[in-house]
Each structure stands twice: as C-alpha cells, then as structure tokens.
Assembly symmetry: C2
Homo-oligomer: 354 residues x 2
C-alpha cells in the first residue's frame, strides 16, 4: 500500500478485515503512516517504497495525482514478476499510455471523494461502489487482473472493466465538467453582484446553491485532476459549448416548442440517469413545505426511519431568514415513496410528489 | 388578487392575517378559486377581473408568465386612479417597458419557487424574503409605491427597489442560467452513457446530482420564464461561453497556476456570495461520514436541534448502495458550527470542517 490516506487506509482496512491479507504500507508523511498503523489500516509501516512492495501479490498506489506516475514507476521497478500493481487515480488514460508494463492495471473506485484523511478510512468504504479497472492497451495480465478483481469483490466493491478513454470521458462529463461549470457560475454571479448597480447582495436561490455547491473545490487536488484529464475535459467543454449555442439560438428565435422539447428531454434524461444509477426501482422526489426550525428534519427523518423508509438523497432549500423552507426527499420505490408521503402528511406538512 | 395559486393565495393569507385587509380574489380556474376561499386566502370570490379589482387599493396579478401582460392590462383598465397594480412574475423588463401606466409597479418575491398550488399557500411564505419592486421607467407613483412597500413589510417581506434591467440580469445569472446548464449537463451525460461503449450505466456522483438537480424543471412554467427573459439570459450565456473558452485555453496550455487561481477565485466568490446571502455570520460547512441507515440523519438533526443549532442547508451524498455516505451540513456562525462539530463527534461520527 503506497499512500495511506482515506482511500489507501480504507483499502488496508478492507484487505485485512475482509481478505485476510497482510498489509505493508508506506507514506511519505510519517505522521499519516503512524496514524494508519495505529488505526489498524496496515500491519507494518515500511521505510520506503521498495520495502513496502517487497514480496507483495498486489500493490495499490494511492498517491496524489501529481505523484502518481512516478510512484507507479517505482512500484513496478520493485515489484516481483507475479505482482499486480494498480492505482486509484481519477483519470486513467495518461497512466495507461505510460504503463506498457503488463503488470499494471489502472483502477478508480467511485468512493470517498468527499472527504480526505486516514481518520475517515473505513473497512466498508467500498461496499457496493463501482470500482473501474482500466488495463493498459495490449495488457495480457489475465491472472493478475483476475487476482485484483477478486480482491475488490472481497472488499464489497463492484469491479467494472472500462477502457481508459471511455473512463476519462465519463469522469469529464459527470464530475470534472460540473466542477468547471460551478466555478464559472459562481464567479459570474459575484461579478454581477459586486458591481456598482447592485451594492446590496440579494438572496441567491436554491438552484444557484445546488449548482455551485462544488465551486472552488480543494485546489491542491483539483488543479491536478483538471490538468491530468484535460483532453477529455476539453472535449466535454467543446460539446457543452456547442449545445449552449444551440439553446441560445432557440432563445434568440423565440421558438417555444424547441425550448420545451429540450427541457422535457433533460427531465427524461435526469430521471433515466438517476433512476438507473441506484438499485431497486425508480427514485421518487417528494417536496415538503416545512418551518425551518431545528427539529423538523429530525422529525421527518425519524418518522420515515421508524417505518423503514430510507432517504436516498435530501436537499433543504431554506428561505433567506431560515424560518421556513422546502425539503426535497428522494425515496426509492413506489411503495416507500407512497408511504413516505402518507407519513409526512400525517405530521401535518404539505407534501407533493414532484 | 388575480390568480390565487401558491403566491396569490399566500398574498391573500398575509393580507388578511397581517394587514387586516379585505381580499377579493379571481382565478380562471373555478376549483382553485373555491379552494382559495375554503382555505381563507380570500374573503370573496369574484366572478371576473373587473369585479375583483373594483374598489381595490392594491391589486396583485399572480398569473402565469404567459397570461401576465394581458391580465395586468385588464387590471389597469378596471382599477381606479388611486389603485396600485403589481405582479409577481420572475422577469421585469417586458412589463416595465409595456406598462407606461404610472399605477403599475412590477414585483417579484423570492419565495415559493419550489412548489405550486394554493394548498401550499402560507401566511408566512414571505417572512424575511426579498421582494423586488421594479417601477416602470419614469413612474411617478410615489404614494402608490409607498402603499405597496408598506403592505409588503406587513407581510414580513423585505421590499427592495431594483431597476428592471438589473433585476432580469440578476435572475438570468442566479436562476435561469443555472437551469440551462443543468439541462445541458444531464443530456450530455445521457448521450455519453447511452452509447454503445457504455452499455452499463455507472454511478453518478454527488457533484453531478447537485449540478443537475433543477434539470427539466416544469416546462409549463419554465419555457415561459426562459423566453420572457431571453435578452438577459442570452447575455448571461454569452458571458458564460466566453469564460468557458478562457478556461479551455488554460487547460489546453496546461497552465496550472491559472487553473489554481481561477479555482481559488471561485472558492472565494462562493463564500462571499453565500456568506453574504444569509444574515448572522459566516456559514461553515461540516462533512460527516455516516452509515446511510434511516435513523442517522434524524439522530444528528435531533442532537443539533436539542442544542438549538439550526441547519442552514444540508446535502446527503449516498454511496451507490445507500449503505453509507457523507452528509454535508451548513451551519451559521463560528460558535454554532463548533458546537455542531462537538455534538456530532460525540455521536461517534467522523466530522471535518470543509
């Protein structure tokens, strides 16, 4: 295990707890390494890459994007001929192009992107998570790939083979591009609201808050992510700009049917994507008008919890003074959504299915 | 009161409950009108616009965007010389240009955009809400403006004068453009994921979910909104497209410092906007790792509620199998945020301040 932060530490915990493996770990940050050892994420703390890799069947490189290529190169140099080396980086093409070594299989677990630090590591971090595996082109590492795959299944993950190009285009579209748009939107609003004409900053609505939630994500991580996936991201930006131009033309021409069709298509696309992205039936959206006092969310969540209804996702849109608001709840399955609606109505809050 | 849905009904309730006013209401939908009467949102149900407006000191037009101009025209034709006529539409320039009548003052309360229907009407819907007032150019309706302003204050709203152009550019930026971007993003992802190369729809992350939350909003409302504010929206799109081009150039050139600066600026802009948009100190973001079982949100919300700590905003990012996740909580004020962190840690959940 090279790098024992959130992801590396969780891999260590899962390897020890679920695959009965012995884990040797190395991290350039001594405090992080000591913490990982104390938390039981690794069996032994290695002095360097070479010592950590010695005799390993599987090596995971969980280093920052900027140190990834070099650490993978070091690991491959030290690893035995029957050792599979993988990484957990958010882009896959660069490493795949660089890694002619057939012992290398690129990886990317879709988990843990929201926090950092080994103190958040968990044995169950990868439960149910898609874990993309992108072997280098021409890789013949069948037995090594299979060993890696089986290990990931033992973690509870869902290893999914994907070619590196498709992976990077996918991440550009569903993760990197949304971050770019959020950044641009927030700065455009700040420029508008900071001007002489609007000395008073008005309320920004829930759509703006949602759209800009990821604006200005940790630069130490994200500058690397943007640049390491820049080819796919640029392609995504170009496609987006072309679509934006199309909408602009409909607006300029005032063609209402085209605008409506486009909007309805987006509605269907969102339902298809978010419905399909979650197992166990379609997700329904309930909107509840509530006073925004401290106990209300708890009251609703408790009532649903008692009935065994799980909340897939939740968004609270407060009014400006935080005295009232609308809670959007996403509930999976017709039956649970119906039951949730009943329970919320019984609590006395107006609720509609959106 | 012309139109007695969510907004019209709430204006009726607030007028009766807080301003001791007598409210005559009209709605082209007889069932809605009867329901408003039953709910106490109006004192009397009028047979037509003329009857509703007769003898009124203030007339609110709360009709859909498509019927707004015509209904305002009818109201002005029937209203007395000392009656102020206002509306609640989401764009202001078109009406301002059309309304040479000095009895007209355009209005737009920032409330209630998330639900529809008179059954959600509330007397306190406008508590603390900014209510933009955009008098037509050259309007001399001082006494009428003042009467309207005082009435809105009695509703608990914060009437804020704004010129129609600035209003529409502002709404284009913080509301209409985010909707456009969400639509485009979701369709781009659907196109990519529906292709031959990716027969399997993978997980979409929390950034994608947040960014597309408003995608495909009710077409019956939004086609009208997009088109009625198309000039400002097109200007917003053009500015956005130019910024997107700039970022694309940095990515293509691989200039990390420019990317980092841009990202940091977005971070600062978001903090300034969202911090300033809420009264009572800076908003802190806490990230909590939790098992995603029904009772956990309730447990956290209850603990904060008991301590009097209010949750300004909340976003739950579940893992794909919904067995775990990260909850982001926005808490206002240093002291409350610190207390929230302590309480959550006491419950045994890892928490970091983002």
């Amino acid at each position: 295990m090279l790098g024992v932060g959130l992801i590396g530490g969780s891999i260590g915990l899962a390897s020890r707890g679920r695959a009965d493996a012995r884990v040797s770990g190395y991290d350039p940050d001594e405090r992080v390494l000591a913490r990982a050892l104390a938390l039981g994420a690794i069996d032994t703390a290695a002095a360097d890459v070479s010592q950590a890799v010695a005799g390993a069947d599987v090596v995971f490189v969980a280093a920052p994007v900027s140190a990834l290529s070099e650490t993978v190169r070091l690991a491959l140099a030290d690893a035995g001929p029957d050792c599979v080396v993988s990484d957990v980086g958010s882009t896959k093409r660069l490493l795949a192009d660089a890694g002619a070594d057939e012992r290398f299989v690129g990886g990317h677990p879709l988990a843990g992107a929201e926090t950092a630090g080994v103190e958040h590591a968990r044995e169950d971090l990868f439960d149910g998570a898609v874990w993309y595996l992108a072997p280098a082109k021409g890789s013949t590492a069948g037995v090594l790939y299979e060993r890696l795959h089986r290990l990931l299944v033992s973690f509870g993950a869902r290893p999914t083979a994907i070619d590196p190009d498709t992976h990077d285009r996918l991440m550009a579209c569903v993760s990197h591009l949304p971050h770019v748009l959020a950044n641009l939107l927030v700065t455009q609003a700040a420029n508008l609201l900071g001007g002489e004409e609007s000395p008073r900053v008005p309320a920004v609505g829930p759509s703006f808050r949602d759209a800009t939630r990821v604006a200005g994500a940790n630069s130490a991580i994200w500058t690397d992510i943007y640049l390491s996936n820049r080819d796919a991201l640029i392609a995504g930006i170009d496609e987006f700009a072309a679509s934006l131009k199309e909408v602009r033309a409909w607006l300029e021409a005032g063609t209402a049917p085209a605008v409506t069709d486009w909007n309805e298509r987006a509605r269907a696309d969102r339902e298809a994507l978010l419905g399909a992205g979650l197992a166990g039936g379609p997700v329904h959206e309930l909107r509840v008008s509530v006073p925004n006092s401290p106990g209300v969310i708890a009251e609703i969540a408790l009532a649903l919890g008692r009935a065994g209804v799980n909340i897939v996702d939740m968004a609270l849109s407060p009014s400006e003074d935080n005295r009232q608001g609308v809670v959007a709840l996403w509930i999976r399955g017709d039956e649970h959504a119906g039951r949730a609606g009943e329970l919320i109505a019984e609590l006395g809050f107006p609720v509609v299915q959106a």
